[in-house]
Symmetry: C2
Subunit: 427 residues, 2 copies
């Protein structure tokens, strides 16, 4: 029997799982600090709901895991958290607005497996539904800054505006019906380079070669400008003042100057964005893909409910974030192993009491259930990344134990209270 996880999926053990848990907790704390409430939805959605988002067709839809329940219903595993959000909003018309929610759950895509691409991965989405202006967009930029601060990662946000993109294309003479395709091609400028995008614009996107070349020159020039020069050059075009206001508000909300960099070729590869779009990248470039991405999608909720509702969202990729983070210092959540000095019942009971006292003081304490010798226990704890061992003898009626710091080798006779203090100093 093959005992590895299903192709494209992963198990997370000890240190890896601790790291994921810590990163997720940091994100949730920041989400909640902005007043976003949690939302949980089922992994399974009806296929009709899943397929409705991209009525125009999208690569993602080819990657939906499909199944049937015993009642013959056509179901699929969700491939993002935006579709469930739209369904929930459309299905609960009496929700108070603005509706601010976060959702941190797995999504599944039955796609090609590459470095950093998995078939099950965790998205951490924050969305604000019911606010039209860029105040909501700016709040997400400030939240992104806080979130990556909390994670300890140096990042920058790149931002653009779909209206401005459309206006730029219109000015170059790209006909209305070809603009979306052109935008999706230009989004690949960093990935494919100018040659590759030119080929796609002229080929797949059927643009005149002259227009395509002019477009590329304009976008490369814009990408080289700083925010101020960019906005000056874009002035008067649709979306330009929105982008300027977004920048200003993001700063007022706490994202420092320089955190958001405007980038004309940033478009986000999804057709449903209508205004601000943004992506967050690692500053040192060690990982090429974005760590978080999102934008405004004012038409999508309405496509589900028939009643248009403005919305903006940002999705953090937990997996790529964990890839960017250094390995956790903690291989184990336990800080201390409590072990009797010998195998007698009195020693064992004394060890149990000592461990209980530590737990009551908020310390994660293992007890030796195996009856190992003191030296074996120290060895085991050290290997497991447990920082301290407390050896408890029967004579310790005083409630003290010999506590050893495995890193320094130091030992001291400590009460549970004292040991808890020592442990908390470390962590």
């Amino acid at each position: 029997m093959d005992l590895s996880p299903v192709r494209g999926c992963r198990d997370f053990l000890s240190g890896e799982a601790v790291k994921r848990g810590e990163a997720l907790a940091a994100l949730k704390r920041v989400f909640e600090s902005y007043g976003f409430n949690p939302l949980e939805t089922p992994a399974l959605e009806s296929l009709e709901v899943l397929l409705s988002k991209y009525a125009g067709g999208s690569e993602i839809l080819k990657e939906v895991y499909k199944l049937e329940d015993q009642g013959g219903r056509s179901l699929g595993l969700r491939y993002d958290l935006t579709v469930p959000l739209c369904r929930v909003i459309a299905g609960n018309p009496r929700l108070a607005l603005p509706f601010k929610r976060y959702q941190t759950q797995s999504v599944w895509r039955d796609g090609p497996i590459k470095a950093g691409r998995y078939r099950e991965f965790t998205q951490c989405d924050v969305d604000i539904v019911g606010i039209e202006g860029v105040r909501a967009d700016a709040e997400l930029a400030a939240l992104a800054f806080d979130a990556f601060q909390a994670l300890g990662l140096e990042v920058e946000m790149r931002a653009n505006n779909r209206k401005l993109l459309n206006a730029l294309l219109a000015r170059q003479g790209v006909p209305d019906e070809k603009r979306n395709g052109a935008i999706l091609a230009l989004d690949k400028l960093e990935k494919l380079g100018a040659e590759g995008v030119l080929a796609e614009l002229v080929g797949e996107r059927a643009l005149a070669a002259g227009i395509a070349k002019k477009l590329l020159i304009e976008f490369k020039e814009l990408d080289a400008l700083d925010n101020k020069a960019f906005l000056k050059r874009a002035k008067g075009l649709d979306g330009a003042s929105e982008l300027a206001e977004f920048l200003e508000l993001a700063e007022a909300m706490g994202a420092p100057a320089g955190f958001v960099r405007l980038q004309a070729s940033l478009a986000r590869g999804l057709a449903y964005y209508t205004g601000t779009v943004f992506e967050v990248f690692l500053k040192n470039g060690a990982i090429k893909s974005s760590l978080a991405a999102g934008g405004r999608f004012d038409g999508l909720v309405g496509a589900f409910s028939g009643k248009p509702l403005p919305a903006v969202g940002l999705s953090f990729g937990l997996d790529v974030i964990c890839e960017a983070l250094p390995a956790s210092e903690k291989k184990s959540v336990a800080s201390i192993l409590v072990a009797p000095v010998s195998d007698g019942e009195r020693e064992f009971n004394a060890a149990l009491a000592y461990a209980r006292a530590l737990r009551a003081l908020g310390v994660n304490a293992l007890t030796d259930l195996k009856g190992r010798s003191p030296s074996k226990n120290a060895e085991w704890a050290s290997k497991q990344g447990v920082a301290f061992v407390a050896f408890v003898g029967s004579e310790e009626a005083s409630g003290k134990a010999r506590v050893k710091d495995l890193a320094s080798g130091e030992e001291a006779e400590l009460s549970a209270q004292e040991a808890a203090g020592r442990v908390k100093q470390r962590f």
Copy 2:
């Protein structure tokens, strides 16, 4: 388009989601206090792995959601967290033992929908692999006590031992090959009553009527005994001393006397248990099904790896636990809404700064992104379960705001620091 969640599955919004999050966090804290490390595994498992656990066939296997990936692999959604645990242990033969892990993830069963039964639900499992004696079983009993204390639920644990069950059946003359079936029938004593179980023992389980009747009498008598009398009557039978030791150790580890009640008819409906079995029930009986259940399964890991490894586990049902818990007091994670007194830019920026200061002090603060009037903001906050509103005016260069307690109606001019103190007093 049908906008309700898929049949048998649920959405969790605001107050419900907050409650689930709090319950889950409480469980994780207790799990980690005993040094259990987190484990995450994929939702998808190969069908071969999923079907191997119950080689003998089980009801659960009829309820597996099956699907194929694009590579033609036969997959299924996991129906419990025990199978993934066994796969992980068998697939990582160099794991240090004992391996103590917790896992809190969804499982899926395409079964009949009844009150309290869903097709997606969350299990919170703790398991100890590699410890043979009942010390590990007792640790799970103590952990269960701590966990329900932390949740604020009054429960009792009922416990038994499979070896003792087998010995009791042997003494009554139940032939070896019929014992497992008889145990599964006796486990339903509470659910079906004596008549129902007698019918099943004689019918489906093919026991002689005389033996079946004697069995029922014995089990009813045993169930009426207190722990001490129960152990006295069971003395000398296989498993009896193990059960006595389990009781004693659970108390030494912190589960108070009376928390564990021995019950002869408790068997757990799964064939793979080999020793201690336990279930946790609400004391007031408001919910009939167990809130947590588990036991020792010394043969199961070996069935995956070929190398036998003792194991004991306890699974908490997050959904039934949340059913037992009172509605959360918090409908919203936000404690305060910060709003400018009027729609000017200066007031808005002052409100943003005030909210930022609150967040930095650990307070979950919403800002009004919609530009509502003060009275509308107070109304909205009150409806959303946000306890305070801070109104910020442009003249508040002092950094103070008029903070209103929506419950009492009291108002005060407070700095962010003072407001944070006020909020934290409440929560």
